[in-house]
Symmetry: C2
Subunit: 232 residues, 2 copies
């Protein structure tokens, strides 16, 4: 069996713009899927308009609560299949989402793993930031506690200056505006901050400005998917 | 002007499998390009078979020796154009290659930047490794000096255990076999090492095994593009 990691769009109605032909090719070959959300997965496959009968497919949930033993037994059960697909709610399976568990099991079982090209807001943000793509760290979420968060921002700002590394992180979308305020208030005025918001959507932007400049031009990021980057 | 970051394939003859429709759409709109290598860029655009007359395009070199002032004046000269393209030799402009300089200038001039989806061996390696995609660092190259390299490998191995971060790095392809030996000799036997070799090519593989297991199954990585990953 080959485990196929199938990316899906990160913005509505962009599948035909951002997904390469390999995605449709492998969706036509997969009959069994590990998915973060069954409804989203069915809709995604339908919208590719490949003439697939969704009722003939099987879906098993793979989310943050999935246990290793459950996913192991799903993979074992289907090991005679040629292909099994992994689908996230948005973007690339395994990148800042639960797909890695299935891949880890497949690697342990010495199965072939086939990651397909598709949209990753992290990668697109890094490309669009103008910051170093030679050295970078994705931190996931920063600490929620205000003091710990301020300390972490301070540390990252110093690291940018010292090492030239680019630092990327995300926030729960309803806290994005607060995150930007915290960022500005805890960074040197000349620190460059990039905000990548609604990436691949017509409403999206990727803008790099100093903390000082952002302060006078605060965008509304409330409930919009964003990546924050510090770099030089 | 919008600066369009145009990915190209990382393996031969894969353009139609790995590039989404947006790439062709924007290549049809760009008349002026910043490119890492003119010959590669011309060949890439020709191979898309879009009926473009290559002779009507202009190309300016953007490589590791390009100065900020040279790229600035190229961008200024073309600021009335609707689109200017950036093309690397392989993969995504700005990720482990010189494209970031152009993006940084465009950001400074407050121009819009449009990164397109395409193949990144770093991202595909991370997806395929089964390691954490919640927290990861790309280090570029490790130190060349044998002792410093050994120290760095030791440090990263301890970090994996302590923080769960995934660590990714590359090596000059003719030193890949030596890198794998150094990795195995300086890691705890149970440390998981992923090798992503010739990603997106039919000869490629992404395999995660313990240092101990790799030791008895050494692949030949000589002159093959590889990403090395440590993680859990």
């Amino acid at each position: 069996m080959k485990l196929v990691l199938i990316p899906c769009p990160i913005s509505e109605n962009t599948a035909s713009d951002v997904l390469p032909a390999d995605v449709s090719k492998y969706v036509l070959l997969c009959k069994h899927y590990l998915v973060e959300n069954v409804r989203t997965a069915r809709r995604f496959i339908s919208e590719l308009k490949l003439g697939i009968n969704i009722e003939e497919l099987t879906f098993e949930i793979l989310d943050k609560d999935s246990t290793r033993s459950l996913i192991s037994s799903f993979i074992s059960k289907h090991k005679q299949e040629e292909y099994v697909g992994v689908l996230s709610e948005a973007g690339c399976p395994g990148i800042a989402d639960p797909g890695a568990l299935a891949v880890s099991i497949a690697q342990e079982m010495n199965m072939e793993v086939v990651p397909l090209v598709g949209p990753s807001s992290i990668l697109l943000a890094l490309m669009g930031s103008g910051f170093s793509g030679q050295n970078f760290t994705f931190h996931g979420y920063l600490p929620i506690d205000k003091d710990l968060k301020a300390k972490k921002i301070n540390l990252l700002a110093r690291e940018v200056e010292k090492t030239g590394f680019t630092h990327l992180f995300i926030e729960t979308p309803f806290r994005n505006n607060a995150m930007l305020e915290d960022l500005i208030n805890n960074s040197p005025a000349n620190l460059l901050i990039c905000i990548a918001c609604d990436v691949t959507s017509p409403t999206g932007f990727i803008k790099t400005k100093s903390a000082h400049t952002w302060k006078s031009e605060m965008p509304d990021l409330h409930k919009r998917p964003c990546i924050f980057l510090l770099g030089q």
